[in-house]
């Protein structure tokens, strides 16, 4: 056991998978000598050589497109896209190719690929460095979408993602990269993709969230003094609707919290599913606390944009009063 922050936990997961499986290689912008702009791949090029930790040209479509080829060729590439906002140029290779290759070839060419991307706001970064695009990829059949909210989860989910036979979008909430440490087992372990985690149990209300927002939810719950169950989704697709259903059938109330814009964010899907599955158990309409339907503003206003404990708290009050 070591006391690690999320950056260290991910770094450790990468080391262990690379040692275990010679097919695993890393590629991306600045992942080599620089160890990534967040230092997530720190020391890895020195340890594994330039063949396995590759600085690529500055071209996101190229990174993902060649990684698809690497995967089709039998390897397990783990490309990094430097920031959420730079997924855009890679969108076509991710959604039209990585996601479709297995289906397109009826299983002849699977694409075991794990795309690592720091996501989300809250670090005073420039434009296009603070987005939360998980709903886009959850709406794209053929991908899995994972987002850890703690160092422990990050390690176990990343190892599961790398070993997964299908393409995984591995979103790393950069706001909590170094926000806290926790005990992380030194041995490798796997957390199953598709299973949520109950952060705390409660009977009055269910909150569903993922990524950095989980931390805001915990703050809000603490402040509220109410008996609230918090579910950390951990994976956005496939998502653990059974866990949500069970909880909401117990509590009758639910708030979903995420950083991405409201309209057609993943909160919409969860809300719709809850209605479909728990209709007769609901005591109030599911509430969504999310980013607004605006562009994430430059950093002077970013905290106004993101759901925080006070905004979540208001939703808690409102739904409890319903």
């Amino acid at each position: 056991m070591a006391n690690l922050n999320m950056v260290q936990a991910i770094n450790l997961a990468l080391i262990q998978e690379m040692e275990k499986d010679p097919r695993v290689l890393l590629l991306g912008e600045d992942v080599g000598a620089n160890g990534g702009v967040f230092r997530v791949t720190e020391g890895l090029q020195k340890r594994f050589g330039e063949k396995r930790v590759v600085d690529t040209p500055l071209a996101e479509s190229g990174i993902i497109g060649t990684a698809i080829g690497l995967a089709m060729g039998g390897l397990r590439p783990v490309p990094e896209i430097q920031f959420d906002g730079f997924l855009g140029p890679a969108y076509d290779q991710i959604c039209s190719h990585a996601a479709r290759m297995r289906t397109r070839t009826r299983g002849a060419f699977p694409v075991p690929l794990t795309i690592r991307i720091p996501v989300g706001g809250g670090i005073h970064a420039p434009e296009l460095h603070s987005d939360s695009p998980e709903a886009i990829y959850a709406h794209t059949p053929g991908l899995k979408v994972v987002m850890p909210s703690s160092p422990y989860d990050a390690k176990g989910l990343l190892i599961a993602s790398i070993r997964d036979p299908d393409p995984v979008m591995f979103f790393e909430p950069k706001r909590i990269y170094r926000a806290f440490r926790e005990e992380v087992p030194e041995d490798e372990y796997v957390l199953p993709i598709g299973k949520a985690r109950t952060v705390c149990e409660g009977n009055e209300l269910t909150i569903v969230s993922w990524g950095a927002s989980v931390v805001q939810c915990m703050q809000a719950i603490e402040k509220s003094g109410k008996d609230i169950e918090l579910i950390d989704l951990r994976t956005i697709y496939p998502f653990d609707i059974d866990a949500i259903e069970e909880s909401v059938k117990k509590t009758g109330r639910c708030v979903v919290v995420h950083e991405a814009p409201l309209t057609c964010g993943f909160g919409a899907e969860i809300s719709a599913r809850i209605m479909e599955r728990c209709f007769l158990h609901l005591e109030a309409p599911v509430q969504r606390v999310s980013g607004f339907d605006t562009i994430m503003p430059y950093y002077k206003l970013e905290l106004d944009y993101m759901p925080d404990a006070s905004r979540i708290g208001r939703a808690i009050d409102d739904i409890m009063a319903y």
Binding site: L25, K51, V54, T56, P57, A59, S61, G62, I64, G65, T66, A67, I68, G69, L70, A71, M72, G73, G74, L75, P77, P89, D92, Q93, S96, H97, R102, T103, R104, T105, R106, G107, A108, F109, P110, P141, G142, K144, P165, D166, G194, Y237, P238, I241, D242, R273, E276, R277
Partner: protein
């Protein structure tokens, strides 16, 4: 010397057997043994038949939109002939002839255009990727495939084909740039057929040659008469040698022409002149090989007639196999989504519905729904 020369280069153009039957002995002698030349001609001939048959299948409603290959046979064939059978062949959709040489069963191609993914389930032993419909995207996969081989220390390389239009896409640029800068052994072959549907070549590339696209990456570049099987083989051999020994990419422009419409959904008479097409008809890659073989007494009408019979039989059988394949089942498009199907997706598959009422497992006792679905589907 305030104005100096920063860079200087030339691009060669290769032509060995031209449309008038002139054969360059210096480059051409021994390049392709006679026995192989016959086989290459037979492959072109057979694929030309396939093209005709596919066209007719489409016209009679037995196949969807189909892009004819007519006139471009010598390009991918030259490549497939020169490549090792284990080199990746990463094509677009006008490379039937190369895939045929590689041994890919022709029903795979027919099935693809019949709207059936099973046509894309390429057995790995062919080292070929499926027909690529989205333009310009497959060159990155080729680069990754060659990179994977290099990573493993194998001598395998990749050869990728794409059209002149495809060179306008950003992905083309990124693929070439990755290969050049990371030393990945890929042969990039542009089939410059002067048209991208209705858009003329100068709108894709107004430079004097498409070949010079490769200069941007510091790659050796060649322009080749793409309707000359000798020239395509010659250029490919040089590029393959470089890839195999130095691990470096090459860019080849094969100049050719699309003799048919863009696809069966297209009407090229709307945008191009008959005179242009006629000129290129005379440059057909098959005519010159046949004449050359006749000159060498390797070929005659009798052999051609026998070949026609063999080709008809082979294509006929491929069509029969493609048409007689069992109808696909809707479960197929679910089952190939992930190696392990998420429960929610399995539920969608089993109920063939997305609305929740009656879809929930607890409500599935009544399987009427399921029966109804299965009936409808077949």
């Amino acid at each position: 010397m305030p104005i100096t020369t920063a860079f200087k280069t030339e691009i060669p153009r290769i032509s060995i057997l031209d449309e008038h039957g002139n054969f360059d002995e210096k480059l051409g002698k021994g390049l392709i043994p006679d026995a192989d030349l016959i086989k290459l001609y037979e492959a072109m001939f057979t694929c030309r038949r396939l093209d005709d048959v596919a066209f007719r299948l489409q016209r009679s409603g037995r196949m969807g939109t189909y892009p004819q290959n007519m006139g471009q046979e010598a390009t991918s064939l030259g490549a497939a002939y020169a490549l090792d059978k284990k080199d990746w062949l990463v094509t677009c959709y006008r490379e039937n002839c190369g895939l045929f040489w590689r041994g890919v069963p022709m029903e795979a191609i027919l099935l693809h255009w019949m709207g059936d993914e099973r046509g894309n389930a390429m057995p790995r032993e062919h080292y070929a990727t499926p027909i690529a419909v989205p333009i310009g995207t497959q060159m990155l996969h080729a680069t990754g495939l060659a990179w994977a081989a290099k990573y493993r220390g194998e001598k395998q390389i990749a050869c990728t084909f794409f059209g002149d239009g495809a060179t306008s896409e950003g992905d083309f640029h990124e693929a070439a740039n990755f290969a050049a800068n990371l030393d990945i052994p890929v042969v990039f072959v542009c089939q410059n057929n002067f048209w991208a549907i209705s858009v003329p070549g100068r709108i894709q590339c107004s430079a004097p040659t498409v070949a010079q696209r490769g200069i941007a990456y510091g790659m050796p570049c060649m322009q080749v008469d793409g309707n000359d099987i000798f020239a395509t083989v010659y250029a490919m051999r040089e590029a393959i040698e470089r890839a195999r020994t130095e691990g470096k990419p090459t860019f080849i422009e094969m100049v050719t022409y699309r003799l048919a419409d863009h696809t069966t959904a297209d009407d090229a008479s709307r945008y191009r002149d008959k005179a242009e097409v006629d000129m290129w008809r005379a440059r057909d890659p098959m005519i010159r090989v046949r004449k050359h073989m006749e000159k060498l007494k390797l070929w005659d009408d009798k052999k051609e007639a026998a070949l026609l019979e063999r080709a008809e039989k082979l294509i006929g059988e491929a069509v029969a196999r493609a048409e007689n394949i069992a109808a696909p089942h809707s479960a197929d498009f679910f089952n190939s989504m992930y190696l392990e199907l998420p429960p929610d997706l399995a539920l969608q598959r089993d109920t063939m519905q997305t609305h929740s009422l009656g879809q929930d497992p607890s409500q599935l006792a009544n399987t009427d729904h399921l029966n109804r679905v299965t009936e409808q589907a077949h």
